[in-house]
């Protein structure tokens, strides 16, 4: 631990002890609370529950693919499992993962506010999340069988299949609005609730990334909302919209779907980039390199990310002009992402690096995100795309960005902030081991998919030619290693939260405002709002100390 010398002062009752409503204790004091920190915890618990379910589905999919032909489940079940795996992971884990959990908890503290601006809307967004989750569960349990369309709900199949597509559509629709409400709340909070001395360029970079994310949430999510409504209406009432039998154009559905779903991957990745920008300076003891470039590159990613959606559809039969334009902008989009990576590396240069678990997860994040980003460029190139479209290369690319990037960002955020949230420290040694196992397992799971995808293994296939089996076996064994690592990591974190030693106020030596409040924070975060003149990443005192000790 960095600063053992921090005096253990007398703690005031924290947000964990003080309820905001008439229920002093028990579940009602949580699920009816409008405190941004309690809502963050609600999201954390519900999100983790869904994550575990979706990991289990992923495990089953991988197990089925260990050998050609039927191994443990039927083909129909397999289709339903990958659909559910996608819906749950995307709408119930990655999208709310960082903004709704850690954004809710830390955004107000980081900008020196007592809460978000609309606390009740904030609670409402959690309820919508929960109801959306219930619909997703209902689509599994209701007779008819859960949806087998893949998480993209492509028409015309999603209009024709007899499985429970409607509950799944409703789930995605409601979850979309939950996400919109969170975004709306964050934009207004950042505009209105900042500490008076905190100008835009003194905000922590995590807040910047949440700001860019929130704009995408507000402006792109409604498109998927209306598109899913249209599919639902087409299913129930037989209104001709997308169905080619009624004159519709299925490619138009794909346009609308990706108009949201491509920006949505930036909803997922931007906050993880924000986490990296928080953690790297703290563990390198250096001010972040190129603050403004990182801040503006978040906005640039949000902007250019909204212009590239059709690169998912190069083989769908679009016009040549469209293919050319969307491919070109895809290449442009890599520039702001690369700016961030270079800035992070420059921040570490000549820093005094302390390789604690949060930092290690961020290192994995940069490694895997770079692979994911680079293979994304390969897929964005028109000629290569023809070869790789709908192969497991795409699956590997997607998981390298979403899981290797955002997922590891979420793990890093957990190791970085859970001690602050619960006031107790986990075992650092176990956490480091867990990191090593998770990283190895993760790469063993997805790296073979690049190779077999390049060799021609299609995605979402239940059966395959025997020549692909070695890669599938390697991948499945990787999934076992990954799951063992995840179990160790979550057990360690859970035991740490329950029984670990008391965490100090500032275990990592961070300079942003959340490290200047009590651990765990008190009900309205601050008694008096602290001084923010120095800006978020002022490590001049550490660098001065380094000079004297040397």
């Amino acid at each position: 631990m960095a600063k053992a010398a921090v005096p253990v002062e007398k703690l005031e009752p924290s947000y964990l002890d003080v309820s905001t409503n008439k229920y002093k204790k028990g579940i009602l004091s949580w699920i009816l609370s409008v405190d941004h920190k309690r809502i963050g915890i609600l999201y954390l618990v519900s999100m983790m529950a869904f994550f575990c379910v979706a990991v289990f589905f992923g495990f089953l999919i991988r197990l089925e693919l260990i050998a050609p032909g039927k191994t443990i489940i039927e083909a129909q079940m397999y289709n339903q499992l990958f659909t559910l795996h996608g819906i749950i992971m995307i709408f119930l884990f990655i999208i709310p993962g960082l903004p709704a959990v850690f954004g809710n908890f830390f955004l107000p503290i980081m900008i020196g506010a007592k809460d978000v601006i609309f606390p009740r809307v904030n609670l409402m967004s959690w309820y919508m999340f929960a109801i959306g989750g219930l619909f997703a569960v209902a689509s599994m349990l209701l007779p008819g069988g859960s949806a087998d369309t893949g998480w993209m709900f492509y028409v015309p199949y999603s209009v024709r299949t007899t499985t429970n597509v409607l509950p799944a559509l409703t789930a995605a629709f409601i979850l979309g609005f939950s996400s919109i409400l969170t975004g709306l709340n964050f934009i207004t909070t950042i505009h209105r609730m900042r500490h008076p001395d905190m100008s835009w360029f003194k905000m922590p970079l995590f807040v910047w990334s949440l700001y860019a994310t929130a704009w995408i949430q507000v402006l792109a999510t409604p498109i998927i909302g209306i598109t899913l409504v249209l599919v639902g209406i087409e299913r129930i009432l037989g209104v001709g919209i997308f169905d080619p039998a009624l004159g519709g154009d299925p490619v138009l559905y794909q346009h609308l779907f990706w108009i949201y779903s491509h920006p949505a991957v930036y909803i997922m990745i931007l906050p993880a980039m924000g986490i990296a920008s928080e953690i790297i300076p703290v563990f390198s003891r250096r001010a972040i390199f190129g603050y403004k470039y990182i801040a503006f590159s978040s906005l640039a990613i949000a902007f250019f990310g909204s212009l590239v959606w059709a690169h998912h559809m190069f083989t769908a039969g679009m016009s040549d002009a469209a293919q050319f334009v969307f491919s070109f902008i895809t290449f442009v989009l890599s520039i702001p992402s690369a700016i961030k990576v270079f800035n992070w590396l420059s921040t570490m240069y000549k820093g005094s690096i302390k390789a604690d678990p949060p930092f290690l997860y961020i290192m994995s994040f940069i490694f895997q995100f770079s692979i994911g980003g680079f293979t994304g460029l390969m897929l964005g190139a028109l000629s290569v795309n023809i070869h790789l479209q709908d192969t497991s290369f795409v699956v590997a690319h997607f998981h390298y960005v979403m899981f290797g990037g955002t997922g590891f960002g979420i793990f890093a955020a957990m190791h970085y902030w859970l001690p602050k949230m619960f006031g107790r420290m986990y075992n650092l040694k176990v956490a480091t081991w867990a990191w090593a196992i998770v990283t190895i397992g993760y790469n063993a799971l997805y790296m073979p998919m690049f190779v077999m995808g390049y060799l021609g293994m299609p995605r979402r296939y239940y059966d395959y030619l025997p020549e692909f089996q070695p890669y599938h076996v390697a991948s499945t064994i990787g999934s076992w290693i990954l799951i063992i690592g995840l179990i160790i990591m979550f057990t360690n974190l859970y035991i740490g939260i329950r029984r670990g030693p008391k965490a100090p106020m500032n275990p990592w030596g961070g300079e942003t405002l959340e490290w200047k409040v009590q651990t765990p924070p008190i009900l309205e975060n601050f008694h008096e709002v602290p001084d923010v003149h120095a800006g978020p990443y002022d490590y001049s005192k550490y660098e001065a100390k380094k000079e004297t000790t040397k």
Binding site: H191, P196, I223, M318
Partner: protein
């Protein structure tokens, strides 16, 4: 940072609203009349142009955008810009031979 101030409100007189309303009705009349004339492809252009003028008045006066601060105006421009991007870029596909 001026966006944190300005809590007082702007009172718009009833007469102004009636004036704007008359204008909106007049534009509605024009758009219905023009639609009766066959102008080929220009019909839709003119109809949408008039609809934009009407929206401009609704936004500025009924919705008080004229009296709001810069942030609101930047916000609405961002939203409209995004929508036109979505619409326009979809036509990269449809307006060329597929």
């Amino acid at each position: 940072m001026s966006e944190h101030q300005h809590q007082e409100s702007h009172v718009i007189e009833y007469g102004n609203y009636i004036f704007i309303w008359l204008g909106l009705l007049a534009f509605t009349g024009i758009t219905v009349t023009v639609s009766g004339i066959n102008l080929g492809n220009w019909t839709i252009v003119i109809a949408l142009f008039i609809a934009c003028i009407k929206s401009w008045y609704v936004l500025n006066y009924f919705m008080h955008m004229k009296y709001e601060e810069m942030v609101f105006k930047i916000f609405i421009l961002t939203a409209l810009f995004t929508f036109f991007i979505f619409l326009g870029f979809t036509f990269w596909d449809y307006s060329f031979a597929r």
